[in-house]
């Protein structure tokens, strides 16, 4: 066999990067932890879904469509989005989850020596994609659990290409109101692209919450990210998209892989947009009820928690979060540990239907009693 020097072929920033390892499939986890059920409270999925319109598409999906390639750039879905938001379909770019469009944006704007600016304690994928692409991620500490606009502006230099703002933030649920967002965008003044990740926007019911879809009209440097994985409950199908000015989207499209979104995903996403108001209202009610169950319990236990927008909350536990995870898994409850989000000893819990939340409360209380 010829010598194959892998190290020589792989750039240093890739060698140094640690691949994200998703957890084992549920069946394997259930076997290892010796449980016969597993409540998934770790990925902020919407357990109420999918909406009836989506179920119909799934049930009637014709096997004859399987051998055929999907539409390469989600033509129909982009036109549905265009109609929904009253914009040109060319202003939308759909990806295999919004994670894929994060990568496309960084590839489109950054080259060696450039940097991106985001928060230290937010969705990790902005930082990861930058680092494994050899781009420096400048991580600004959260201030009062929220993105710090001043800190981000101060961190900008002439090599800053993209600022990522997660609004509302995963995992703290904080958001910038309209005034904060406007002041920030005015001060960036077009010097860099501002990505506003609105993965959880449909969960926010606040008058002062800025709508990215109108911000892109006033600011040509703004790109909005949205996803069908969260509120619309299509996580298994992987569909997310971005929206910006025609010129910006045209640049990002150049670095974006076509045909990455499958046919079923495209059709379900379109169906999810149809008459979505009742489904969104029902989901919001479910999340509200879950929050109202958990917060008083944490109060009574004297535990610190962060419960703002989004279908999740965080609570600080009196032990390593990674130990709490194992103990809850033994009881059939899977939560997200927060050490990796730089919140050691915090767990994040997705807010779902009442019976599951009650199971969580019981398991959580038992673990604390056992350790006390």
């Amino acid at each position: 066999m010829a010598d194959f020097d892998l190290r020589r072929l792989v750039p240093p920033h890739v060698r140094a990067f640690e691949a994200y390892r998703p957890s084992n499939p549920d069946s394997e986890l259930m076997r290892l932890y010796g449980v016969d059920h597993l409540h998934r409270l770790n990925n902020n999925e919407n357990a109420l879904g999918p909406a009836p319109t989506v179920r119909e598409v799934v049930d009637s999906f014709p096997p004859g469509a399987v051998p055929v390639y999907p539409n390469g750039d989600c033509f129909d879905l982009r036109h549905s989005l265009a109609g929904r938001f009253d914009k040109d379909a060319e202003r939308f770019l759909v990806g295999n989850g919004s994670c894929e469009v994060i990568a496309s944006v960084i590839k489109a704007f950054c080259e060696e020596g450039d940097n991106i600016v985001t928060a230290d304690r937010t969705f990790a994928v902005y930082e990861w994609v930058a680092e494994f692409s050899g781009i420096k991620a400048r991580l600004i500490p959260l201030k009062d659990m929220a993105f710090d606009p001043r800190g981000m502006l101060d961190a900008m230099d002439e090599r800053t290409k993209v600022l990522f703002v997660c609004n509302p933030n995963n995992p703290t649920g904080t958001y910038w109101d309209k005034a904060t967002m406007d002041a920030f965008l005015d001060e960036v003044a077009g010097r860099a692209v501002v990505v506003i990740d609105e993965a959880y926007c449909e969960y926010v019911d606040r008058d002062d919450y800025p709508d990215g879809m109108s911000l892109v009209e006033r600011h040509p440097n703004v790109i909005v990210f949205r996803t069908f994985s969260k509120m619309y409950a299509l996580a298994a199908l992987r569909v997310g998209y971005l929206c910006g000015s025609v010129e910006v989207v045209d640049m990002v499209r150049r670095t974006h892989v076509v045909y990455s979104v499958n046919t079923l995903a495209q059709r379900c996403a379109q169906a999810a947009l149809e008459n979505d108001a009742p489904f969104i209202a029902a989901t919001r009610a479910m999340v509200r009820e879950a929050r109202e169950l958990l917060c008083p319990m944490f109060d009574s236990m004297g535990l610190e928690y962060i419960a703002n927008e989004g279908n999740y909350l965080m609570v600080r536990v009196p032990m390593p979060d990674t130990l709490m995870y194992r103990k809850l898994m033994r009881k059939g409850v899977m939560v997200r540990t927060m050490t990796g989000f730089r919140f050691p000893n915090w767990i994040r819990v997705s807010l779902v239907q009442r019976p599951v939340m009650e199971d969580f409360c019981r398991a959580f209380g038992q673990v604390l009693d056992e350790t006390a």
Partner: protein, 441 residues
Amino acid sequence: MQDRDQSVSLKLAAEARFIPLVQGVVEQGAAAFGLDRGKALRLTMAAEELLSHLAETSGGVAVDLTLTPGGWCVRADFSFVADPSDLWAMNLAAREDIGPGKSMDRLGLLLAARMSDGFEIRLDGRVVHLELRQDHAYEAANPRPVRVVDARGEVVMVDDPEPALIREACALAVDHYPAHLVNETFFTPGKAADMVARGDMNAVVAVDSAGTLAGLMVWRSPSERSVGFCGPYVFVRGGGTAGFLEARMLATVARTKAVSLFSELGTDDLTAENYELLGRLPLGRPGPRGDSGLGDGPEGVELDIRFRHLREDSGRAVWAHPSMRSFLEAAYDRLVLMRDIREADHAGANLPERSVFSARLRPELGIATLAPMVVGRDADRAVADHVRALTRDGYRSILFRLDLAHGWQATLAGSLADNGFSPRLVLPDAGMADVVVFLHG
């Protein structure tokens, strides 16, 4: 491209006639890299000892000698491709059977180790590395009288602390803590600062709002997947310094390759709820540093070993020898760690004739840490020989680490049990998989 390290290398055959050549290269190279004369000579003698060992045991093998300046040290690395059947000669205890009519009258490797500040035998694929380390001479810090003051205002972390600040923080740790809890390098603060500057050790420093040093914490990565820390060292009253230091460390290591974090020297100031207690390990006996603070008895002291995972544990399979099964089951049950235990035994396996163990020696503390590189049919005797040789050389704490990712390593537990070792603790994800630490005696 310029070689940042400016290392010097030499290719030669392991033959006695090249000893003067190696002496010359090491002595003059070490001097060029700034080692003082006494230290350069010690490195030279150790290198000479190694080459003659190789000439006796593996005569003629092609050796690469690399001399590398490490900022705070100089390393001499002898590497060569060894035929698996010849590897045994790299055992610390190797002395017999070196060929027809020959026998070694001394343990060259142990001699070389004794003259060095660090000594390591490891296998990298098929390449054996014998690495000697000699540290630069640094001014020593001696404990000064302490006066603990209240923190003034808010305690904050210093970003990219200056070397001078790190040196002062090390000296304060020496003042404030019993020596056995102080990271060894702090006794020579200049060395600690140089190690931090080169990225061989990580440090976080905290100050209060008056600029008074409030605390220090250090850590390093003994393996790709693990982090070991010392501290937190706190110099002021109040202000939550320990918690801030730990939080900064956790934030820094949280998105790296590291899976597990361990306390190497955990102080009483650490935040207990940040960790899980694994058990206790001996810290060694009083060292040559005079009053090392290691306690009165010759047995020295033991220290709690704490750990936390940095990621969710999704369970895994581990190998175990039947003799350690009940120990493992109890440990995993207590730690709520899900493991499929697979039994591995010698039975029927086509084993090589002889075993080879890697070794990390800390002569100043009397600690030897061994791990298997090859487990052969002679495992029982090899373990016994190592214990004998190390005990004779003054090592009182002999530890053996088995990585349960490998069935062949797990099989060694039988020989360890037969030779007076017992399993003391499980270090989750400290190696490729969990590592079990055995202690002799």
